[in-house]
Structure formats: structure tokens, C-alpha cells
Symmetry: C2
Subunit: 529 residues, 2 copies
Amino acid sequence: MATMTQRVKWWGWGDPSRNLELKSDFQNYLFDRLNISDRERESAHSLPEILPPNPEVAKSLSGSMEDSDRLAHAAGKSYVDLIRIRKPRIDLAPDAVVWPESVADLNRIFQVSRKEGWAVVPFGGGTSVLRGVEPISGPKKGVVTVNLTRMNRILSIDKTSHTAHIQAGIFGPALESHLSSEGFELGHYPQSFEFSTLGGWIAARSAGQNSTGYGRIEDLVVSLRAITPEGEIVTREVPSSATGPEMEEVLIGSEGTLGIITDAVMRIHEKPDRIFYASYLCSTFSEGIDVLRGLAQKGPVPTIARLSDEPETELSFKQAGADSKLGFKLLKMMGKRAYVEKGAHLLLGYEDQYLSTIGESLRKGDLIKIGKSPGEKWEKTRFDLPYFRDTLMDYGILVETLETATTWSKLNNLYQKVRLSILEAIPNALVLTHVSHIYPEGASLYFTFMADAKGKELETWKRGKEAANRAILSNGGTMSHHHGVGMDHIEGLQEERGPLQMKMLRSMKETLDPNGILNPGKLIPDALS
Amino acid sequence: MATMTQRVKWWGWGDPSRNLELKSDFQNYLFDRLNISDRERESAHSLPEILPPNPEVAKSLSGSMEDSDRLAHAAGKSYVDLIRIRKPRIDLAPDAVVWPESVADLNRIFQVSRKEGWAVVPFGGGTSVLRGVEPISGPKKGVVTVNLTRMNRILSIDKTSHTAHIQAGIFGPALESHLSSEGFELGHYPQSFEFSTLGGWIAARSAGQNSTGYGRIEDLVVSLRAITPEGEIVTREVPSSATGPEMEEVLIGSEGTLGIITDAVMRIHEKPDRIFYASYLCSTFSEGIDVLRGLAQKGPVPTIARLSDEPETELSFKQAGADSKLGFKLLKMMGKRAYVEKGAHLLLGYEDQYLSTIGESLRKGDLIKIGKSPGEKWEKTRFDLPYFRDTLMDYGILVETLETATTWSKLNNLYQKVRLSILEAIPNALVLTHVSHIYPEGASLYFTFMADAKGKELETWKRGKEAANRAILSNGGTMSHHHGVGMDHIEGLQEERGPLQMKMLRSMKETLDPNGILNPGKLIPDALS
């Protein structure tokens, strides 16, 4: 039964055998920036004690109540989750874990849970960074976590329509590997790609690294099936419809509170041979934003677009410079040293090499072309960053990421306000930012903040996170561009939507889950009350 | 007060001074196809008698109860509406018409109507072809039609973000003319463009002739405001969000049953100097579909794509040939006569001339290039077709249009089944079809059917429409691709969505309009019951 337990670290990110060390040059630089004097790494994590379960849950559902399974489903993968899970004692874990293999299994789980009073927590890859999979019982007498990764098949590929019918529990690599063998690609690559599932992406309204080109997950859903405690919903498999309001868009982003997505027909495309990368150094982040706006509005629209602000550029070039011929050394040779120290790295990826060089906005401004290597290197290591978080946490360093989006005319102000508000809340923090997705009318902003938080982990995190949230809401951002709501953005959701939209959401909950068994405490915890 | 009355024909389409005659060659051809022997046109339409109103409605709302205003708001513009409105006596008309100028006006209208028990029918341009604006009182004691066309300003243009904040009651031409003076375009051109409004487009989930390039109306909405009897909803003005389920998508397509959309921030783009057209003749409709699929999936994606089936191609070339050097005459000179008689006309429009010729799929197959003139002529006359319906109706000819969409692999079958089912229901009908919108995973189908229905108008219409609806639902189509639901697609909506999605929709109604004052009888007439 302990499939998941073998697969990922219970105390951190991903493959338990992978441990990414910091290069010493880079570590010195980073610790210096964070005002950390010499400190030892604490990398041994001993299994925590875990509270005994309510045995009735496993019994009624033929589930597992083994400690290893309960631990593997006790938390998501946010900084706060990892702080909690690294403690000697775990107070919150599901009473049982089940691995349904069919819609019939799910219906049985709902039936029993409704009758017995269990809370049902849907679980894909468990990589939520907003506490979306936290096994909270709410008013219920027990919690069963429903791991969907045995519903993991590609049911069919329609090569004429460029669609694939896929079960929700499939992980990213298995999905793309299967599609790739048929010449196709879904092209959805969130940071969590290796350890998250299709159903999780849809439930959390995800976007991935190539979504500027291929669209966000909601753009890729042609139709979906969701099983709710009140029955099944299957949306129509058509490219577009004017047959009334779109209920699919209510299920996408519902984060397991309205139903469990079991399978979906997804838009796929012919897999390109490769992505051609082109990197540029812009004199400022703001200049880079103008370049991206030109590409988004006049084309050619890239498949991948990332623009790091000056601090992120400096840090990433330091990191690259420490172990390659890239970065500082190369640019020093080009005599552009001054530029690098305040420049902003723009990374573009296109399916067509020609396109990566012809954007009108690329020819404007004072861009320095730095070739394809940064992009190619980024592609190879693009899923590694969360491993570094584990390492940094071992040194007592807080690493939090958050993201938002707004229209182009508000983007620079939003960027400054969020950045400054984090720095005000945590004066010694290092705040790094990049634009990760572009649209004709605006773009996303992805913030990473790091700080020495040894011994004051949660209070430091809370100060930074709350400051960022306030700045986002009061400067025209959205509470989340692609991470979702979970438990950390509940107030933000309410403020962003206003009372009447919240009433609509709560009435959806009453309609689909009138007994409130699905994912208590998330998204709309005050529904049914 | 009688703004609208002056603007459009009460008994037909558009500008009362425009009357489009059939060229005699074409008329002979058409009447021959429809088995009509010589028949006189009955083009005099005398004002019908109109039932007296409940005077309390106008009194309580300071509205108009003039006959001319009531008549102008008594029906939409479907064939069934026009048959009804051309009768000597009108049984269904609003008791009063009001023209709110602000959100405060709307709130007052809701307040009074709730208190007094009036039904509120929102009305933009009134061009619904599915009886979406029919002034039905349901269980209420009177009906007020709320004409939104005085809320018709462009509030602001954000040239950086390529967005415009626009009031819902603006008509298409005023909207585009204003944007055009600033170098921008919304690019939404439904057949009704000249006489329909932004709010109507959003409320009915509209698509226009350039939507393959610029996106459907829901793709163009960045944010919107809706006033409901329970308060105001304003969605967040951001390009994309993962902050929970998307409630905007519940209001888009709600057809005035959940709230009244007052204004929206819309995505706009720099207006191209012109559209470059290229027409091709495909050997069959099916070959043309393959070409379109190639363009949709591999590019270059056209701004406009229309592919007529063989009967529609023949008819349109007959019509063009009768009054221009185009069509038959030209193609005869090219020695391709045989081809024309069974060919399918593919019309493409691109912002860039170069793109209109380079699609890989255009080079495959046996396409005959017939140049730019058919497209240029189409552009000039593209909003004229409904005028011809008036003329044909004067001759006792039924003209109905309906549309659907499905994935590419189901498209040919859906086309055949809908076409044949109409022909089975009305053996003498002429059924014309074109693909009007393409997507990577599928396309729309737009059907026009004509038949001699003199003296048996509604029964003939009903036979054809019901047969088409059944064929659409049982062959994987959607009940509507861009016309909406209104009253004619209520059963189709229920069948397409299934009981649980309908329950979701009804709970939205209970939440936003608990007294059921908004647009009774449409979309979800069984809500609140």
C-alpha cells in the first residue's frame, strides 16, 4: 500500500536519494547576503512520532493506517508544511489512506464517509504549497485521505482532434512520456511537474513553465468528469459552447472541496523536436517588462518567457558562475561587468529558432544577447529548485515563494510594493522576482523570499507572507496566479471576490457536498455553517 | 423615450429604410430549388394591435408604456419572433420599458420590481434568435423591459495593457468607431454586430466572425460588473488567476437570468490596417475541413475562417454570379465548371498577407486558388444576410439558422446527421452549412435551412428545429456554439449538462435572484420552483 511513501521524501522535496549541496562560493555569497555567519547543516531528519489514528476510518474503508502512509499524507510541500513535518511529533495526519481505482470505489468512499462522518481529503501528488491537502477533520469524526494515483491511465488519444482522455491520478513524467511515444505533448510543466498529477493541476488551476505558449491548465481542459457526493458531472467534449454558463470553470480551481476530478479530455499538440532558447540581458527589470509586453501584444509570442529582476539575475548568475563558464566570467570578458550587476535576465523559448530573434520589441532598447546556454541549462535543471529549499532549510533558512498577476499598467507598481512590503516585514530578507507568464493584457510576478529564520521560522514566514498578501490585494494583483487558495489564501480569496461571489461559491458547496465531507478547512471553510 | 423604435424595424431586421431585393436570376434559381412557383411578395406590414399594459408597472418605475416602445421590445429577431410580431395582434409585450443610466437606476428598478412583483427583462439590442428577450411575466404581475443602451460609454482605454473599460449598452459600431479613433479594435463581429450590444454579447456567450483570430467574447473579458437583485459583483481585473473557481464564467452566458452586466474591461488589440483575404475552392467540404484542421493545429491560424459546404457554395456563387463578374463566369473561364458544382468555398482572412498563402495544409490537396475578391465582397456585405431573411419571409419562405460545435473527429458525422435530419423533417428544404470558427481540437458548424412554409410557418420550423436539436445532442455536438439558450434550447441545455450541473445553475439563481424577478422563462425556468 505504501506506494507514495517510497516515492518522495516525507520531510522535503521529491526523490529521497537526491540531495543538492550548495557550491561553497555560492554558499558564502548567499550567507553573506543573509547575514548568516558560519553555520552547520542539520540534514538528519528522524521519523516523527505520529498520533494514533481513529481505527474506525481504515476499518470502514479497507484503508491503510500504517504510520508511513499516514506520514506521507500528513502535509503538502510548503515551507510551513515542512517546518511542521520536521518536528518530533505530528499532530495532524489522516486516520486512513485509501487508493481508489475506479469511479465505483470513489462512490463507495463518499457513501461510507457520509454515513460514518469522515472528512475526505483528495490527494494527487500532495505538492500543494498552500496547505490544500492538510488532513483536517473539521466537524467530522475522522479523516480519510484519498490518494488518486492509481487512477493513472491514458484512456485514449484522438490524433485527429489532438486530444487525450486521461485519468486524473497520472504524474507529469508518465503522462508526457506516454504522449511523447505517440508524438504528442500536453506541455504543462509546473515546478512540481515530476511529483504532481493532472487532477491536482486542474483542481488547483495550475499554470506551468510553458503555459505562455500552450495555455494554462484551464485552457487545456476540453471536458472533465468530477465525482461529487451528490453524483457525477461530465462536461461536454466540445471545443466551445454558448449553451449557458460554464460550470466546468466552477470545478477547475475547486481544490477538492466540490468534488473529485477523475479524468479529463485534454488538448494536446504535436511535440516539437526541441525548444530553442535565447537569453538577453536587459539594462533594468522595467526595460525587460516592456520587451515582454511587446512580445505578448505584437508577437511572436514565446512558448516560455521568464524575466528575472536584478536581484534574481545577480543571484542566478552567481550560482551559475560558480560552476560553469557562464555568468560573470563570460560577461566580464565581454566588458559588460557594470551591466551585469544591475541587469535583468530575459529568457525566451520558442518552438522555432527563427522566432526567438525577430520580435520588434527585442530590437528596441539596449539588450545584450547572451545566447542559448542559459536557457538550455535552465531546461535541464528547471525542476531542481525545491531540492535547494530542503538544503537551505537544513541551514535554518526560510524559503517561500508566492505569485500574483496584474495588467501591464499596474505591473511595475505591484512589483515594487510587494517587494518592499516583504523587505519591510523582514528587513534582512533576500527578495527575488521574475515574470513567469505573459498575456496580452498583463503578466504574472513570481516572488521568492529567503531569510535567516532559525528558531523563529513560523513567525518570520507569517510576517513576510502577510505583508505580501496585503500588498498584492491593495495594488490590483490577484491573490494567486497559479498556486491556488488552500488554507493560506482564504482571506485573500474573500477580499478579492467580495461577499456575493463568496455566496455563490458557498451555494455550490451546498449543492454538491451538502454534508460537508470534502476537504474541510480549504477554500470555503465557512460554507454550510 | 422611443429611441429604439426609430432605430430598427419592428417587423424585421435592422435599418427600416433598407430593403434588399432578390436579383431575378437568383430568385428564379432559389424558388426553383424550393419548389415555389410564381408568388407575390407581401411586404406591407401594418402595425399590430397590442394588448393594453398593466399601467402600474410604468407608474412605479417612471417608464414608458407607449405602444411603439412596447412593440419594439415585444420580441427578439428569430424567425419565430418575426412570425409572431407580423400577426395582427401582439399578445406578449412588456407592460413598461425603462432606460436606466446608472447602477443606481438599476438598483432602484430591482428594488421596486421585487417589492411590486414585476418581472425584469434585460434588453441590449434585442437581437436574440432564441427568444432570450421575450417579455414573459412568469408568476409575476407585470413585466418591465430594461433597455440598457443608455449605458453606452467607453469609460477608459488603457493603452499600455491593451484593455478598455466599456459600458454594456454600447452598440457594436459605436464601440469599434471609438476604439478605432484610438488605434484599437475589440474585433468582435457577430452577424448582429450593427444592432447588438457588448452586454448582450457577454450575456449570451457570443462569438463573432473574427473570433477564430481574436477569441470568443469570454476570451476578451478581463473583468466585468454585474448588478443582481442581491447586490453587485465585480470580478478582478487581472489577466489570469488561480484564486479559486472562476465565477465570471457563471455570469458569462447567464442571459439576464442571474444579473445585469453593466460594464466590462475588455481585451483590445491594435487595429490592423486591413484584413487580407484569400479564397480557395476545395474539391469537397470534407477536404476543406482537413485544410482547416491543419491551419488550426499547425498554423498559421487565420483571423477569419469560413468553409461553406457544397450546397452553400453553389448558392452563394449563384447569388454572386448574378450581380458580379465573380462566381460561375470567372470559374467557367478557368475551365473548372465541374468542380464548382460540387466544390466547397474556403474563405480565409489574415492580418498579414503573407500568412494567407503559407499554411502547409493549403499546399496539400487539390485546392483552386480564387483570389481575394470573394473575401473582400463578403466583408462589405457580411452584416446584410438578415435583411434577405425579411425579403424571403415576405415570400412565405422560412429561414432559420442554428449552430453547434464538436471535435474534429466527430465533425463530419455531426454535419451529415444534422443536415440529413433536417431534410428528413422538411423534405423540400434547402440546407446550407459552413464552418465558422476553428479551434485546435474542433470547429463549429453553422446551418441555414430554408423551406416554403407559407401558411404552416411554425409547424414547419418546429419540425426542422427539433430534428436538428436531436441530431446535435445525439452526435456529440453542443446545443449552441454562439447563439445561446433563451427559450428554444432549454431542453437541450438540460440534456447536455445533466441533472447535477442543472442543480448548480439553479442554486446560482437562488443565490443571486431569490425572488425570481430576472428574465423568467429563460435558461433555467424551473429554478426557484
